[in-house]
């Protein structure tokens, strides 16, 4: 690191770079959420089911995010674990109107939490209860109990109802994640 870099780093002026992993079942709105975080002119108009993963970049409050937007299709869920190791935050997106597959989401969450690359680490997890606008969507309280979020002891977590199409609720959610990451990774150093 050059002298200048170190100086700006000390003064907190330099943009911090972090990796976040965006996961959740298929059709829960992962790519749409990420699309919303991007700058106005970078956004794409139509979102198609992701095959594999996409890397997207956006910045918030002087933190540069590199989001690994993973595919939620059951065929590719097993590939998530390749990216657990080097992420500093996880965004777990749930389709709050999909009551039927809530158990599937819980199962995936449990597998994530038990994974050796995740289990012992203090990684902030942001749960987004997406599609809150739909009439039969579950409340965050119900979702939290349904997913058994109260069992998560060693990681900060937060759940928030959102609507990725309009962007409602996303701003405070990402704000929480940014603060957490700043606390855990950046200020510590």
């Amino acid at each position: 690191m050059g002298l200048f870099d170190r100086l700006t780093g000390l003064l907190g002026l330099k943009k911090k770079e972090v990796n976040v992993l965006v996961i959740g079942l298929n059709n829960s709105g992962k790519s749409t959420v990420i699309n919303h975080f991007k700058r106005e002119d970078d956004r794409c108009i139509d979102i198609v089911p992701t095959v594999g993963f996409n890397v997207e970049k956006f910045a918030f409050k002087n933190v540069g995010f590199t989001a690994f937007d993973m595919s939620g299709h059951d065929r590719y869920r097993s590939l998530w674990e390749h990216y657990y190791k080097d992420c500093q935050g996880i965004i777990f997106i749930i389709d709050s109107s999909d009551k039927l597959r809530l158990v599937v989401a819980k199962e995936e969450l449990d597998m994530l939490l038990q994974h050796p690359d995740v289990a012992g680490r203090k990684i902030p997890i942001l749960f987004l209860a997406n599609k809150m606008d739909l009439p039969d969507s579950l409340t965050t309280v119900k979702l939290a109990s349904g997913l058994g979020l109260d069992r998560i002891q060693n990681k900060p977590w937060h759940i928030r109802a959102t609507n990725a199409v309009t962007g409602e609720g996303l701003q405070p959610a990402i704000e929480w994640l940014t603060d957490q990451i700043r606390d855990i990774y950046i200020n510590k150093r």
């Binding site: 770079e17 594999g52 993963f53 590719y76 590939l79 390749h82």
Partner: protein, 875 residues
Amino acid sequence: MNAFKRDKKEEEDGGGNPFQNMEKTTVLQEARTFNDTPVNPRKCAHILTKILYLINQGEQLGTTEATEAFFAMTKLFQSRDVVLRRLVYLGIKELSSVAEDVIIVTSSLTKDMTGKEDLYRAAAIRALCTITDGGMLAAIERYMKQAIVDKSPAVSSAALVSSLHLTSVSGDVARRWANEAQEALNSDNVMVQYHALGVLYQARKSDKHAVTKLVSKLTRTSLKSPYAACMLIRMACKLLDEDEGAGELYEFVESCLRHKSEMVVYEAAHALVNLGRSGSRELASPISVLQLFCGSPKPALRFAAVRTLNKMAMSHPAAVTACNLDLENLITDSNRSIATLAITTLLKTGAESSVDRLMKQIATFVSEISDEFKVVVVQAIRALCQKFPRKHAVLMNFLSAMLRDEGGLEYKAAIADTIIAVMEGNTEAKEAGLAHLCEFIEDCEHTSLAVRILHLLGQEGPTSKQPSRYIRFIYNRVILESASVRAAAVTALAHFAASCPPLLPNVLVLLSRCQLDSDDEVRDRAAYYCAILQQQNDPTLLPLIQPPLLSIPSLEGALRNYIRSSMDQPFDISQVPPAQTVEEPTQTEILSNIKQQPRLTREESFMEKLSQIPQLATVTRDCPLFKSSAVCELTESETEYNVKCVKHSFANHLILQFDCLNTLTDQLLEDVRVTVEPPEGYTLIGEIPCPRLAYNEPGTTYIVLEYPKDIQASVATIPTTLRFTARDCDPATGIPDAEQGYDDEYMLEDLEVTLADQMRGSAGRGLDFSAAWDAAAARGFSELEETFALGASVTTLEAAVRSLIGFLGLGAAELSDRVPSGTVGHTLLLGGVFRGGKQVLARARLALADEQVTMQLSVRSPDPDVAELITSSVG
């Protein structure tokens, strides 16, 4: 100062390859750097280059290693560095075949290929198509179609070529994207137009009519791209070969000779001379074009022209003669390849008088050209030897000089082949040829070649004027070479001893020395030959020195059967079919020395198939398959049902194998049988019907017959009928509609059981016919002799020999099937085994007078009936 100097020198010649001495494991370890955040593009690019280098050096990655490296690599997508990203694409392509779950990068690649960064797009398309499988194809189809018609030529080209590659994943890709390709065909870019034509052709490839339409449409519009024009010429020629739209297409190809691009002109000329039917008039214009190219300042054009002329000199030497003057100018060309081709072309077309001059010219630089071209020279010499037998001395000397030079196995083998071929074609050259080969094996590093030459010496040496001179060369090998060469040398020595009695005592001394060899095989052989040779002279000795090549699986089966029997009779080796000799590709083709899979002979593979059928076990268990006939068709090829028959002869049984094919889409056949009326003397043992014969699925049914006791009756004609229960069915699904089928029958052509079906030729080079013939008389064989006048259809001796061998099914001994041209009399020596292991020897004296061949045929066989059958069936 000194150290500094050395450093500098090292830098100059040693600094070439920074990637030398890399360890796979270390590099893969380094690849973990890819996981770091933030990504360091320069460092990662270097590591990725190392991985790519290793893979391209042939290093194999295991699945786990590759997958790990691949997933680490996917993290590099977060970097925006252009160089790194393009390296990632290369990495994806290389690892896509080894790593698992490569599909993970699909979305990332589709994003890149539709993105704004032009540098990414084409490469991303190529990478995407290598990771796409049949299931994913639909997901990327929309993007691919857009990319094909993209306004950037690089993107469009990449998409077109990728879709060609994708046809191996899904056959109809080209057809589905043909509309887009059609649009791309109008592109101004030369490459896009070419690639689009490729895709359009791929889409229509299987439909000849559509290809014809495409070609005739395009020949009228002129294609801007020379590459596309070349391709169009090739397509047109393919059609011309199949005789489609002849006149118009031919005119088009000819008009291309006046195209403004040299590439197209050459392609057209090349195509015209290679169109099989070209007469000398049609060849004139393409040849004049090639002649023009011979004088071109561009080496590539000169090379192309002279190479085409060289090929052509084989088929149309007269036409090429027109260019002789231009070719003369090229023999001193600074490009050695051009010079070699020019000389060899001249050798093919030139007169006998110019041979010496040309050989001298070529000798000046033969050491400077690559092996591949040396082989071309050797082949030219071989052709020359056939053309001018009188020149063999000059050519032989030249060959031996070449043999002494450095060269690879392929090159040396080509020379040895040529010398052997010259020796075979020209008896005068034999002594000289053997001497050259002897000299060669003195210093030959190729084991396989040395073994071959030793074998040849053993075959040919004993009949030369002075056999003793070869002994020294052969024994030298025993002292100096590796085990397999020593073993071959021992066998060769034994050959000399067996054929030249005067040499026997000396060779026995040498062989007894070989019994002390360190290698098992050499010792075994020496002991075996010593034992046989010490039993003194016997004309039947030679076959023991060179045991016939038997088919090992059949021998094993026969021996097993013998052990099970009471063993009161001696084992009859003539029951065992010989191993298949692999015909060497002669003439232009270079013998490839790739190890061939041990192939089963035809009989062995049939036997395996037959022995798996339980109903046939009674026949196949006791007795090995004696001979399987060639396939004979019992129907015309275009009929509703196709039936082919193979006749399998056993000692006392005949199994008829009928391969049936149903060509009607709307019929399902059940219980398919071929019924035969057993001719007199034959007994029907059983039949095995084919339960079900669906459209276009081959089925097989069998008939088992017992041969008549009277051998005379075994040659017969068997009328055959195909019987089956037909059920109508839906052509699309193949599921039968009607509940009940109806019985039907279909007349087939008559099946002939001939003499050749029951006879196996077993002669070849090894058999000493006169010794065997005399021994036969001594062993009490019965002899029959008769004289025939052969029919009007046989007008030459060659034809008589060919038809006699085909008819009797015997094998020619001592190369007596080669009739020297211009002679009026010939003796054909034949040997073979009749089913049941009865040996047959036959001698046919042929005489030609007024296009009428007369034959005196003598047959010797232990069984008088067999001898009679042979003479009676000829008449």
